[in-house]
Amino acid sequence: MKKHDKNRNVAIIGIGQTTLSSHKEDQNQVEMVNEAVKNALADANMTLDDIDCIVHGNMELFEMQFQPDMWHALDCGSYGKEEFRITTGGTVGATLVCASDSLVASGQYDTVLCLGFEKLQEGNTTGGITNMADPLWFRNLQTGALTSSTANEMIKEFGKERVLRAAMKYRIMIDKHAMLNERAHRRLGLEYDQLENLMETSPQLVGDLRLIHMCSQSDGACAMVLTNEDRVKKGTAKPPVWIRDHETSHRGENMSNLYGAQKPKSTHRDCAEKLFMRNGITNPLEYFDVFEMYDPSAFWGLDWLREFLLLKDDEVLKLMEANEFDLDGKLPVNPSGGVIASNPIGATAMLRPAEAALQIRGDAGGHQIKKEVRHALASGFGGTLWTVMLMLEKELNW
């Protein structure tokens, strides 16, 4: 296996977010981007003069604005600086952080600001996703990202009643977390006694996938400042959060393989195995104090936890049933409310490490986990079958 040795260590020292909402009609795109950049710089107590390079990304098909980085040059701070633009689909936010980490670790830049954003209400998300499918054939069959295939498979494996209950419980847990995060978009105030009612009344979208299970479409932006170990030693405004390692898995499978009679190993499990093996993590459930996961629906949330945490059989359902993913559980999952609550896609996968880093700093506010957070895991996902994972640490001691 290839080593991921870094020339020097890299830390997140500034985190900026906008609020995440369904419509940001009081701001245009550049103003929204600027808000996140300003918040990140203020958090780092830095100015643009301290930034050597900007790494910019979103899904440009969604707003149909080609090269939005040129439109944003003044407002994202890239004017007169070096800049990279990255588009890796739904996972772009996570890729932006990985790329920035590598740029700083390599020694090419001392301090980098990365920025992910999306104004989904300004375009057509379903159209954008459909246009990502192969235009020669599959585009004719695909409509957006709605699918019940994971629900079908889980039901086949564990039985309908148990899976539907666990998925709705996951959904309500996520909403309870989102209710504590004032930046989150969808905060519905769901209660566990609504579980059976929602299982029956929430409109069916596709098979057993209901409206309540699915992620939102949001507007919002996230920016982070990353710098090197020497700069950190000179003192930072907020405690540094170290990026220990990251891994990306996007092997050659396509949808055809995913639904064949013989399923390939998921990119999530593949990615997790590589990352954990390289870092000597034998029991991720024990090691990590929080997991900010890219969970586009309640079924995916549950199924992917099993893959990311390398769980066997029905362990994930047992953990869910025992409330172990709550804020005071064994491994709190998505204290921020995750993707189901807020999904400005180009920012979504950056919000995962951003929120994980806030947990390590103890700065998450209402949704801060009560016990100390020292080791955090974050994931990103995008179509098709593209997984990114990041490991964050409070201390530089691994």
Partner: protein, 389 residues
């Protein structure tokens, strides 16, 4: 407190600090006493000095003042302030008196204070009130050709049951729920009011189960467009947020290349062709130039199917518009993953299932394609896969 012309004397004085214009009071140094008799009256003293205004109520003697305004009753004082009663009339009738320089007061006060206006009364907004005036917001131009009957079952305080009928360019409301509604929406009356006044997001209320929709969901979603937006009479006038609307339409033309070209040519002969990996012998369908597992070029082709069985499927109830044509598909419809005969276990083929067969569609169903009469080498050559028992 006695009210005249919709307000009180006290409110006129209480709003003075807010109505004061410091920039217009440079060099002004006055003390003005006010003495208003009768019910709702009282004594107040206004001090303007150093571009600041202080207003205080006074018990007993007003003390030394630059000028004093005395009104016989609250009605006169409020009437004059609101210019409903002429100041000259009140002065000449003796209902108002000024001790000191009248001319100074008449020029100075309008200069350093914004004119007092009666605060708008909060109108109580009720579900019944909003619905009873629904006809005024109806847009016959938007509802041309629409026939729709829908109902609201509003529970809790201020609730009720209502049926709205849109037909022949008119909109009628009646109490009670008809039996033949296209859709019925059930919620608390307070939720309905919140949605209409914009304090509750309709989609979120629906998602969280606060609103229940029985019947045609698309009809429910469409009801909003037949009416002008409800304007909350209590809402403060906000700055208008302008947005620009654009439609991007792109004509595209894709080369198929030799491998996909082979596939489309196969369709013309009603054949489903896979390419074969020379190393792992996988059957790649749709055919691809390279086996993504072995990283070698595929050369042979093999015909698969036509029959196969379903490994997984999406039964779609949600009618999202086809983003490529703009058309809303008939629901439900299903796209299924199919293991065709002769295929290796890694590779499934996806296609739509015949609408009439959807009720019996399950994982494991055996299926076969139905072809167009004259295949032309396009996606439309396969009409659908049907279930065979």
């Amino acid at each position: 407190m006695a009210e005249f012309f919709g307000t009180t004397v006290a409110d006129i004085f209480n709003t003075m600090p807010k109505r004061f214009k410091p920039e217009a009071s440079k060099g002004v140094d006055v003390v003005i006493g006010y003495d208003c008799g009768g019910e709702g009256g009282g004594k107040w003293k206004l001090t303007v000095k150093d571009q600041a205004a202080r207003i205080e109520t006074v018990e007993g003697d007003l003390g030394p003042c630059t000028a004093t305004i005395i009104a016989s009753d609250a009605e006169t004082f409020i009437g004059v302030t609101l210019q409903k009663i002429g100041a000259i009339d009140a002065l000449s009738q003796g209902k108002m008196k000024v001790i000191g320089d009248t001319r100074m007061l008449m020029t100075l006060l309008p200069q350093i204070f914004v004119q007092y206006t009666v605060p708008a009364k909060k109108t109580e907004v009720t579900a019944r009130g909003i619905l009873s005036a629904i006809g005024e917001r109806f847009r016959p131009d938007k509802a041309a050709g629409v026939t729709l009957k829908y109902g609201y079952d509003l529970t809790g305080e201020g609730g009720g049951q209502f049926t709205i009928t849109i037909a022949n360019g008119t909109c009628t409301l009646k109490e009670g729920l008809d039996a033949d509604l296209a859709v019925k929406m059930t919620m608390e009356a307070a939720t309905y009011v919140g949605m209409m006044t914009g304090t509750i997001d309709g989609a979120a209320a629906f998602t969280s189960g606060k609103v229940r929709i029985d019947g045609d969901m698309m009809a429910a979603a469409a009801t909003g467009k037949y009416f002008d937006k409800y304007v909350d009479p209590n809402a403060e006038e906000a700055e208008e947020l302008l947005s620009l609307k654009k439609i991007t339409s792109i004509n595209q033309r894709f080369a198929t290349g030799p491998v996909m070209g082979k596939w489309f040519a196969g369709l013309r002969e009603k054949k489903l062709l896979a390419s074969v990996c020379p190393v792992c012998r996988r059957t790649l369908i749709l055919p691809q130039e390279i086996c993504q597992f072995c990283h070698v070029r595929t050369k042979e082709y093999v015909e698969l199917g036509p029959e196969g069985y379903v490994t997984n499927f999406d039964l779609v109830y949600f009618a999202s518009p086809d983003p490529l044509s703009g058309e809303v598909r008939d629901t439900p419809y299903a796209c299924a993953w199919i293991m065709l005969e002769g295929a290796t276990p890694e590779d499934a083929f996806a296609f739509e299932i015949k609408k009439e067969d959807l009720p019996k569609l399950k994982i494991g169903s055996r299926v076969r394609p139905t072809w167009a009469e004259k295949p032309t080498g396009s996606f439309r050559d396969i009409l659908y896969f049907e279930i065979i028992d």
